[in-house]
Symmetry: C2
Subunit: 409 residues, 2 copies
């Protein structure tokens, strides 16, 4: 009985948020929020996953240090600059925590620090320090707080990304909500993915961390190619326990209920990020079924949604399934080409284009109709086993090239 | 004393070639050659490398069978259809060899068979059989034969790719020449790469195969990302021994001279393929030096030239070195970010943009001038060792999307 509600990152009890224009990037419009703050009334159990990139931005290292004790009170995040690869990056990331601490009465270590934007340019820390008092003043525990924070972390995102869910856990109503940004889609995680999730569930650090690690692998990491990750990626959950449910400390049915809620939230966010891929005109889902293992299904599906040639074909609404089977072939996952069935599906119907690895005659007009929808599924059955996986991507368009051809200026 | 000469695949003694319009693709212009034939006067030692894609087109399997005995007399290749993933693909690939055999007095097994074009549409074998007599008639052992054959294997290529070299081996003049096609550049090998090389060098099958395998890894496979390969890729060398040099059967200095010639030819072809990437406006070379191993240098360089964000930045002549170090970071190759120096170089000069992993102030106007040239080198020193590697790619442009958005029609 999970239900979607409003309120994003402020939906759960005891969380407030705000977003303001601090002017991190000199050229940004005064209407563009670029500094987000999230704060809890009570201390939170915290868990996070970080970029696997060997080059990590300073805020990632600083947040790792801050969350070593497994607790946090809030998040300070900016857009407009990645705060990476500059001589003062580390000190500047620490300064963001110190500034938030001074204004809220907490310690710097109580804050998650995150940044997104261009790499290799010194961040305007003065602008952030000057903007934070306003962010503290404007903290509110309702929809508009979440909205302002969600907008403050957007870069090339064209829509803000918020989700909130509610369900019953052991007789108590537990709420979870989040905001995210992410919109770099050919190697998606290279365009930073940030996701901040808040919940009033009472749950131990160990259980929270287990659930998050597992779910990130099945959701955000399936909007990607080869596990490519930006220098700044981060997904954080803060749980303040204010729902009053019995503490989740074992993998029992209450853990399962929490897990399903977090999975639903992260899946919804992953789809939003894929659909808002830079320049994207369509959300492309690849679902591989009949695989000998989930890992194999995931690898095949990732290769398909990650193929530039498949993505360009989806832009052109071209039922070029040869590129689909070709991408499967170089995925390094085991499968038998002569067993493969491929269909294209959307709200306009479904059409089989390849059966047992070979072409089948199909109605090109119908295929075109299916492929011109805004959400397309490439359904592949490898007819070898019982396992399946879904990965998400988008089409490759002129606008992707335009957006990325001159991002710094 | 290697020198470049004219004549392409007909430069070496005893080789003739032709290219004709057979009408493999009904919609193609009658001016577009789509059937190539290469024939030697004498039996050739043959070596080949093939796609590593799990899905291989029928001509690849048929050629593997034909070259099992290590000898061949010629090549039959078509563009306009990949002859892959159709019920009759295998029989049709065999029929190409049989038709060539009947017209030339050889056996079908004496021919290398290759195709490039769309996957999953039945090839018009009748058109090929009807066109072959004309191709046999037009066989000539000069520049115009090579030119016609080189044009016949082009698909989205914008320039034909021919190279010929000559050098002295043990007192004899040995000649080597080749033609190639290839122009799919984000996952380059997915746009089929075909390369046919002929030489009059006397060399054993073992030595030829060793040299080719090693050199393909250092050249064509460095125009690529993750070893992605199309269903149809093939690189073949035919050596007919007519130069009269002492047979190369050991890894002595004569082998070395042959090796250097083949390496130079394949490097030149690899650069031509990269520069003609679909929609490309610039050839982008990434040279990584100071690495702890050649493999490590290669992996870093490949990640950089393969990054869509780097490629889009090169299109925009944007000195966005953050994307370069970010791509290095997810390459999975070991290096220390804090040791990395990055420069951009071209005919217009050289500019250092990152030193010891951090931003350095640089003249943006000068960077722009360097990056607007048609050949750009991203020079990276990881300052850890002695090894280096070069990989080649191109920029990502609007035209790439246009070319691939509707390739089938």
């Amino acid at each position: 009985m999970m239900k979607e509600i409003k309120g994003g990152v402020c939906a759960a009890q005891g969380f407030k948020a705000s977003g303001v224009h601090a002017g991190v990037k000199a050229s940004s419009s005064p209407d563009k929020n670029d500094l987000a703050l999230i704060l809890s009334e009570k201390e939170c159990t915290a868990a996070a996953t970080y970029t696997l990139n060997r080059v990590k931005a300073a805020p990632v290292y600083v947040t790792m240090e801050h969350l070593e004790n497994g607790v946090a009170w809030g998040v300070v995040a900016n857009s407009g600059n990645a705060n990476a690869c500059c001589p003062m990056s580390h000190e500047n990331a620490q300064a963001m925590g110190q500034a938030a601490a001074k204004l809220t009465g907490h310690s710097a270590e109580d804050f998650v620090i995150a940044s997104t934007g261009v790499i290799g340019q010194t961040i305007n820390i003065g602008a952030i320090e000057a903007g934070l008092p306003k962010a503290v003043e404007q903290l509110v525990g309702n929809e508009s707080g979440s909205d302002a924070a969600a907008r403050a972390i957007m870069t090339t995102d064209t829509v803000k990304k918020e989700v909130a869910l509610q369900c019953d856990i052991g007789g108590k109503t537990v709420t979870m909500g989040g905001i995210a940004k992410g919109s770099g889609m050919i190697h998606p995680n290279m365009g930073t993915m940030l996701c901040f999730i808040t919940t009033d569930c009472a749950i131990t650090h160990e259980m929270l961390e287990d659930a998050l690690r597992d779910i990130v692998a099945k959701t955000f990491n399936r909007v990607t190619v080869d596990g490519d990750t930006s220098t700044n990626d981060m997904c954080v959950v803060l749980a303040n326990g204010m729902a009053g449910n019995e503490l989740i400390e074992w993998k029992d049915e209450k853990y399962d209920a929490f897990y399903q809620m977090l999975l639903a939230l992260c899946t919804a966010m992953a789809r939003k990020i894929a659909a808002d891929g830079e320049g994207a005109s369509r959300l492309v889902t690849c679902k591989v079924s009949g695989a000998r293992s989930e890992e194999c299904a995931e690898r095949l599906a990732k290769a398909v949604v990650g193929s530039s040639l498949v993505k360009a074909a989806m832009f052109g609404a071209d039922a070029n399934w040869g590129r689909v089977i070709c991408a499967m072939g170089y995925s390094k996952a085991p499968f038998r080409p002569e067993y493969v069935d491929i269909s294209f599906c959307s709200a306009a119907g479904e059409i089989l284009v390849c059966e047992k690895g070979a072409a089948v005659a199909f109605d090109e007009a119908k295929a075109k109709q299916i492929l011109t929808q805004s959400e397309i599924t490439i359904a592949i059955n490898v007819n070898e086993g019982e396992d399946s996986a879904e990965c998400w991507g988008c089409d490759l368009t002129y606008d992707y090239v335009k957006i990325n051809g001159d991002y710094r200026t």
